[in-house]
Amino acid sequence: VYVEDKSVPANEMIVKQDCPAGMEDPFIMEEFEIEELSVDGICGVY
């Protein structure tokens, strides 16, 4: 499990290990789900 070290610039992001379970790494900044559901289950959960 990895988190971003905020003390360094984003382009020199250091990835730390052994962080609390359930936290994903910060490689991705933001997600925009414009289509919230799809028939094949790529988005939305049933």
Binding site: D25, F27, E33, E35, S38
Partner: protein, 510 residues
């Protein structure tokens, strides 16, 4: 990664031919100077902003050619090079990237393959022959067969192969067999396969690299159909309950019901023992229970659409229906064991209101009321486009409109699928009391069947598919109702609605 012996062994296993990646078809990369780099997937429409440090890597990825991970990691700052594969795997799980091949295995963990068997001498021989052909060094492989009081020649079959044999004198079911073998296994990884399965030679070498991530506790691979001759075979090929997904997935807070089936399941031995193994009181759904308990421990369950095993499905109608019925009966048991995993039904509020308008208009026979549905959709398109524009996402107005309409249709499809799965039989039984209810339920069942045919693309004509689909749904549904009535516990039939206004404002990755 932690420096456990297993991590080292599996890391060594990845040291050969590197995995290769490319963007998924329909994904484009937008990298305007000054703006955050974005990956945009057209269907379903979503945008993902990545950290700027990965910009050079994205510049070298296209949807056309696979690029080796080493070539991609050479593009990023040195500090991040050993994290490149983690980043790319995350994009794969978000359906933005595709990966190809598996790393070669110059170093190997010891794996114990465990097979429970009861009265399947021919299938077992076939399964063991396939395991002898695994591309995996013999000295790192232990095969354990546990006989569940077979009355045929299964034990004699085992004696012809270089495997360890354990046996129960009275029938104890598969979960007890697997637990017995796990207690005696020497391998760091336990690999479960069923006696009616045939393993692909690359079964283990495809799946083991997933354990390089210490967060992963268990890995499941693709379960394909062994038979393809009969109509029911071709139905099972696309609609088997043992199929997890067509793309790579990992358990998460969102995927709360995620599991991988025990006929193709690899798990760390220490974790398996910590969990106390499979629940022996469960004769169906014990794999679901194990995966959910593993997730409670804070470990992830990963699914990769590789590491194939071929399953000999029940390809006669009665055994097929009986098995589906049994699967259905497990729902109330699992829901009661795991109240934190109560079934939910996601309802995006604007789209739900749109369909509510349509339903009221249809019920009252009022065309003007349909204007409410149209207004709801238009408002949603406006809201979403405004957020897209404010965040500088390069997506046009028409694309947003298309996405909103598709979301509405997808919601209707999922509602139809739910009614078809849990209520259509009851509604048909109530037909004399309320013919309109029966007609609506039947229509929704047909929509669900049509949708599944369109998505799964089986090698079957639509009518045959619909017949098998109906039997599948009805048998499962009777199983659920039977299980619920027997236990006086009806939560599986009453999922908790989760209304969501929108997630469009931008969410941090989960």
């Amino acid at each position: 990664m932690k420096n456990s012996p297993l991590s080292k062994a599996v890391a060594a296993a990845s040291g050969g031919q590197p995995a290769a990646y490319r963007l998924r078809k329909g994904v484009r990369c937008c990298q305007h100077s000054g703006a955050k780099p974005m990956l945009i997937l057209d269907f379903p429409l979503r945008a993902v902003a990545v950290q700027p440090c990965w910009r050079p890597l994205l510049e070298h990825m296209t949807a056309a050619d696979f690029v080796p991970v080493q070539a991609l990691s050479a593009r990023v700052p040195e500090k991040l090079r050993d994290k490149t594969e983690i980043f790319l795997e995350q994009l794969v799980r978000k359906a933005l990237c595709e990966s190809r091949g598996a790393p070669a295995l110059p170093g190997y963990p010891i794996v114990s393959v465990i097979i429970p068997v009861r009265n399947r001498e021919k299938d077992l021989a076939h399964c063991l022959r396939s395991l002898c052909n695994l591309r995996y060094p013999e000295h790192c492989l232990e095969i354990i067969v546990v006989d569940d009081a077979s009355t045929d020649g299964s034990l004699q079959v085992v004696s012809k192969f270089p495997v360890k044999t354990l046996a129960f004198k009275t029938r104890r079911q598969a979960a007890a067999c697997r637990n017995l073998a796990a207690r005696q296994a020497k391998g760091e990884i336990l690999a479960f396969i069923d006696s009616d399965c045939v393993a692909d030679p690359s079964w283990l070498s495809d799946l083991l690299p997933a354990f390089r991530d210490p967060a992963v506790g268990a890995v499941g691979g693709l379960v394909d159909a062994y038979f393809e001759e009969k109509g029911l075979d071709r139905y099972e090929k696309v609609k088997s309950s043992l199929q997890v997904s067509t793309w790579q997935k990992r358990s998460s807070e969102q995927e709360r019901h995620f599991y991988v089936p025990s006929c193709n399941l690899l798990i760390r031995r220490e974790l398996f023992r910590e969990l106390g193994g499979f629940c022996e009181d469960l004769h169906v759904g014990e794999d679901v229970d194990l995966c959910w308990r593993l997730q409670k421990l804070g470990k992830a369950v990963e699914y990769k659409p590789v590491g194939r095993v071929y399953h000999k499905h029940r390809n006669h109608l009665w055994p097929f229906c009986r098995r589906r019925f049994q699967y259905g009966t497990s729902e109330p048991v699992l829901q009661r064991l795991h109240p934190d995993r109560t079934k939910q039904f996601l309802l995006p509020l604007p789209e739900f209101l749109c369909w509510a308008w349509v339903a009221v208009a249809a019920w009252l026979g009022s065309v003007p009321l349909l204007g409410g549905a149209a207004a709801s959709l238009i408002f949603q398109i406006y809201r979403r486009y405004r957020v897209v524009r404010d965040n500088g996402i390069p997506i046009g107005r028409m694309a947003v409109a298309g996405a909103v309409i598709r979301t509405s249709l997808a919601l209707f499809y999922h509602l139809c699928l739910f009614v078809s799965r849990y209520y259509v039989v009851v509604c048909m039984l109530l037909w004399p009391l309320s013919p309109r209810l029966g007609v609506v339920a039947l229509a929704m069942h047909l929509v669900a069947g049509g949708g599944q045919f369109h998505i799964k693309r089986p090698r079957l004509n639509p009518l045959s598919f619909l017949v098998f689909f109906s039997l599948d749904q009805f048998a499962y549904q009777l199983g659920v109702w039977w299980g619920c009535c027997r236990r006086g516990f009806f939560k599986p039939l009453l999922p908790r609605p989760v209304f969501r206004l929108t997630s469009l404002l931008g969410s941090k990755p989960q």
